[in-house]
C-alpha cells in the first residue's frame, strides 16, 4: 500500500521515499487509535522495502511533533479496569508499541524524524527509534514521565542510552525539563538543525542525498552501528508495569488530566 490516509496519520511513497505524517488532534497523542494505524504502517512496509531508501516521519500539527502517550486514554482505561488487571492491560499496549518501534528501529532503510514543536515522552521515543532527528530550531524535547510516577515506556531509556551520554539522560529523566533543539544537537540527540518551519524541507533534501547510495551497504552499515537493545527494552516493559500499579500513579494521572495550567508536564 503506497498511500494511506487514516484517522490519526497518513503516508505516501514517492521515488524511494516514504513520508509518514502524524495528524491526530490535538497533539498527536499516541493511544490505541494511532497505535493501530502505526501497526498498519509497519505491516505495509514489507511490500515497500525493496523500493524504499528513506522514511521521513513528520507532524501536520502546528506546534507539536507529538506530546507522547495518550494519558487521558491511559487514565480512562485504567480507571475502568479492575486494579488487578491494569498491569496486564498496560503490558499488552506496551508490547504492541514496542513491536512497532522495533520494526522502525531496524527497518532496512534510513528513518528520519523531522521534528518541530514539542516532542515529549512517547513522541520523543518515536523519534528516537529513527536513525536521525532533524529538528526545527524551535523544537523542544523532554521525558516528563517521572512526574507521574513511572518511566518512559516506549523504549525511551534504552534508546537514549544507546545514543547519548548518561549525564544528559539522567538530567532529562530526573528533572523532566524540556531542552531546546540547540542543546539537543550539542549532546547528539539531534543530527541536524533546521530553521524555523524548515525541518521537513531539510529532511527531504537529506533523504534525496541518502537515496544515492547503495542500498545493501547502507543497510549493512545501519545494522552494524545501531543494534536494537532488546534485553533492556524487555526490562523496561517489566519495570513500567511494576511502577504503574502503584496507587500514586493513578492519582498523578488524574491530577495531570485535570490540570489546565501552562506547564502540565511538570509536577
Amino acid at each position: 500500500m503506497k498511500t494511506f490516509t487514516g484517522k490519526t496519520l497518513r503516508w505516501g511513497w514517492h521515488e524511494g521515499i516514504i513520508e509518514l505524517t502524524l495528524d491526530h488532534a490535538p497533539a498527536n497523542e499516541i493511544g490505541t487509535a494511532m497505535l493501530a494505524e502505526l501497526e498498519k504502517f509497519v505491516a505495509a512496509l514489507g511490500a515497500l522495502v525493496p523500493e524504499t531508501s528513506v522514511c521521513i516521519i513528520a507532524s501536520a500539527r502546528k506546534a507539536v511533533f507529538s506530546a507522547g502517550g495518550d494519558l487521558r486514554e491511559l487514565y480512562a482505561t485504567a480507571a475502568a479496569t479492575p486494579e488487578k488487571e491494569r498491569s496486564a492491560g498496560v503490558r499488552a499496549f506496551l508490547e504492541r508499541i514496542h513491536a512497532v518501534l522495533n520494526a522502525l528501529d531496524g527497518a532496512p532503510f534510513v528513518t528520519i524524524a523531522a521534528v518541530h514543536g514539542a516532542c515529549l515522552g512517547g513522541g520523543l521515543e518515536l523519534a528516537l527509534a529513527c536513525d536521525m532527528i532533524i529538528a526545527d530550531k524551535m523544537a523542544r524535547f523532554a521525558f516528563p514521565e517521572l512526574r507521574l510516577g513511572f518511566i518512559p515506556g516506549f523504549g525511551g531509556i534504552p534508546r537514549l542510552k544507546r545514543d547519548l551520554g548518561n549525564a544528559f539522560v539522567r538530567d532529562l529523566l530526573f528533572t523532566g525539563r524540556t531542552v531546546n533543539a540547540t542543546r539537543a544537537q550539542s549532546v547528539g540527540l539531534v543530527a541536524q538543525l533546521a530553521g524555523e518551519g524548515e525541518a521537513l524541507k531539510i529532511a527531504r533534501s537529506t533523504a534525496a542525498q541518502i537515496t544515492k547510495y547503495d542500498a545493501v551497504t547502507r543497510t549493512a552499515a545501519k545494522k552494524f552501528m545501531k543494534p536494537i537493545p532488546h534485553e533492556e527494552l524487555r526490562r523496561e516493559i517489566d519495570l513500567f508495569c511494576e511502577l504503574f500499579t502503584r496507587p500514586a500513579v493513578m492519582a498523578a494521572l488524574k491530577k495531570f488530566i485535570e490540570d489546565s495550567g501552562p506547564m502540565p508536564y511538570l509536577p
Binding site: A27, A63, V64, A67, G117, A118, K137, M138, A139, R140, A142, T175, G176, R177, T178, V179, N180, A181, T182, R183, G261, P262, M263, P264, Y265, L266
Partner: protein, 80 residues
C-alpha cells in the same frame, strides 16, 4: 552584560513581535498568560524563543509559577 532593565525590555519586545502586538503594549508587570492568551504548547515555543534569543538554557522548573515579564526577565538574567 545586559542590565535587568535591558533584559526585561528585550523580553517585552520579543513577545510583542512574536504575538504581533503594537510596540509598547506590554508592560513588565503584565501577566503574560492572560495578556498573550498562550497555552502549554505556546509556552514551550516561547521558552525556545527566549533561549535562542539570549543564548541560554532556561529550565522549565525555574520559570514554573512565573507569570509576569519582570520575574521572567529576572530568571533569564540569572542565566546570562
Amino acid at each position: 552584560m545586559r542590565t535587568l532593565e535591558q533584559t526585561t525590555q528585550e523580553v517585552l519586545d520579543l513577545a510583542a513581535k512574536h504575538f504581533q502586538l503594537p510596540a509598547g503594549s506590554l508592560a513588565a508587570g503584565d501577566d503574560f498568560f492572560k495578556k498573550l492568551g498562550i497555552d502549554s504548547l505556546q509556552t514551550l515555543e516561547m521558552l525556545s524563543r527566549l533561549e535562542n534569543h539570549f543564548g541560554i538554557e532556561l529550565p522549565d522548573y525555574e520559570v514554573q509559577g512565573v507569570s509576569d515579564f519582570k520575574t521572567l526577565a529576572e530568571r533569564i538574567q540569572s542565566r546570562l
